[in-house]
Symmetry: C2
Subunit: 289 residues, 2 copies
């Protein structure tokens, strides 16, 4: 593979993640404009950007990213982070990463999103897609729904959106990636799933880069299409103190998963990532009563 082709792909992927970030922010701010006005007399929320830079262990520049956080009246706390980082894996990690055994250099770009909502009636959500380059290259990512009070209709619509994105590329994708999601977001010590699922994929390198990239774009578009619909569907419903309590306890479970099991969280923290960006996923408030 020519170096020029790889560079073109990096540029294309990075540009897409930024574009998707912009579109998601716009959609979420539109939800803020439409909903929650009657609650707390809060003004519609707006995203606040915080750029950060990464340094490699030897002090050389290692890329960085931009956190976008909104604390609004519909979204209690939502982070939409993009980052593009590069460097060398430590010897220990290189062994676990495809294509890094011979050459530990890596480049990685992605978007990562977690939304915690004021209303217990609106599902929380997580979405992430990424493009990784070592001596090989691949896409990974997915999205999963985390409702404190699950509704069959929401679950079905969320799954249907990702199923369409998958089916446009390969009929095997959705059953495979849906199962992978259920497996990944399982909390063994609680004997339960973290949420109601979605899709999860990794190491996607079919040999047809254009299709792999188009699939990753479709996953982002599917999310952008369905999630704001679920938000607007429920954001102005009333809820009880008991619903809120259920939400806060559910968020405790969410924090347990992220800190105990989530590979991205642990990997990021153990390898000197930006803790603010990584822990953006933790809920604004949680309970372990």
């Amino acid at each position: 593979m020519g170096e020029a082709v790889i560079e073109e792909r990096k540029t294309a992927a990075q540009g897409w993640f930024r574009q998707l970030r912009d579109d998601i922010r716009n959609a979420f701010e539109a939800c803020e404009d439409q909903g929650g006005a009657l609650r707390d007399n809060l003004p519609p929320g707006r995203f606040v950007e915080t750029p950060w830079e990464r340094k490699n262990e030897d002090g050389s520049p290692g890329g960085g990213g931009v956190m976008s956080v909104m604390k609004g009246r519909v979204f209690e706390k939502v982070g939409v982070n993009i980052s593009t980082v590069h460097g060398r894996f430590s010897e220990r990690f290189a062994k676990e990463i495809p294509g890094a055994e011979e050459d530990p250099r890596f480049w990685a770009s992605g978007i990562s999103l977690v939304a915690h909502m004021h209303s217990p009636k609106v599902p929380a959500v997580h979405m992430n897609t990424r493009f990784i380059v070592t001596s090989r290259s691949w896409f990974g990512g997915g999205g999963d729904l985390n409702p404190p009070l699950p509704l069959d209709e929401d679950t079905a619509d969320f799954h249907a959106a990702f199923k369409s994105a998958c089916d446009a590329h390969n009929p095997d994708y959705h059953p495979m990636f849906k199962d992978w999601c259920d497996e990944y977001f399982y909390i063994p010590h609680r004997n339960r799933a973290r949420g109601t699922g979605g899709i999860f994929y990794d190491y996607l390198d079919t040999g047809d880069w254009n299709d792999d990239f188009a699939f990753t774009q479709d996953v982002g578009r599917a999310f952008l299409d369905i999630y704001p619909k679920l938000v607007t569907r429920h954001m102005d419903e009333a809820w009880t103190d008991e619903d809120r309590e259920t939400q806060l306890v559910y968020r405790g479970l969410y924090a347990e998963f992220n800190l105990l099991y989530d590979r991205g969280t642990r990997f990021g923290l153990m390898t000197g990532g930006n803790p603010e960006a990584i822990l953006m996923s933790l809920p604004p408030e949680a309970k372990w009563p």
Copy 2:
């Protein structure tokens, strides 16, 4: 070492942990009687016991324990757990445990305590001591103070109590075990200590079992002496919403440490321990704003 001597030691250690549990519960309930009466018109809290049983992987009985939890008007949530468990370490864990390489059988008894307080002015606290028997045997444990709003006087008194307990046995103990505590309860990704320290010791087997046991008892007595004093010192002070916010954010940090780094928590959850008893340490409410 004769089997009869070992059995005698197990019985003595287990009896002590139960005795200490009773004494601590009484002291904490006395705090409930004296303090917090003006707040929320809550009655003084009382401990509620929940026994649990452990099964080994082959289904044979593996001991168990008793959780004691109090949700009161001074103590927002405090757990004082005792347990005595026995079985065989898995091959993987046996390699990490002294004396378990040749014979994977273990027996372990201990007391474990975490207190989260209503008032941000009253320090939270953690204390744990244990006696472990494989083909070898040793004591371990310690205590550390976790004030959302640290005060030099409290920190000094807490350290002085453990110093007395240490100095009665070996002048090297306190400097060594205090450093070990600072090292253990450090949160690398936050670049800070979890709290204001205390002591931490493990693998204590000097060859003089009676003294090792007496030291572990003195650690428990030191805790029983000093901590209720710190509680009564501050429990009826007023606090602001800002103090409470500081406390809730500090508790987020505490949860991060326990889920990401605490060996007991991870070890317990990964090896089929009782998640309710293990996660008793998590704060009743926390924030990541």
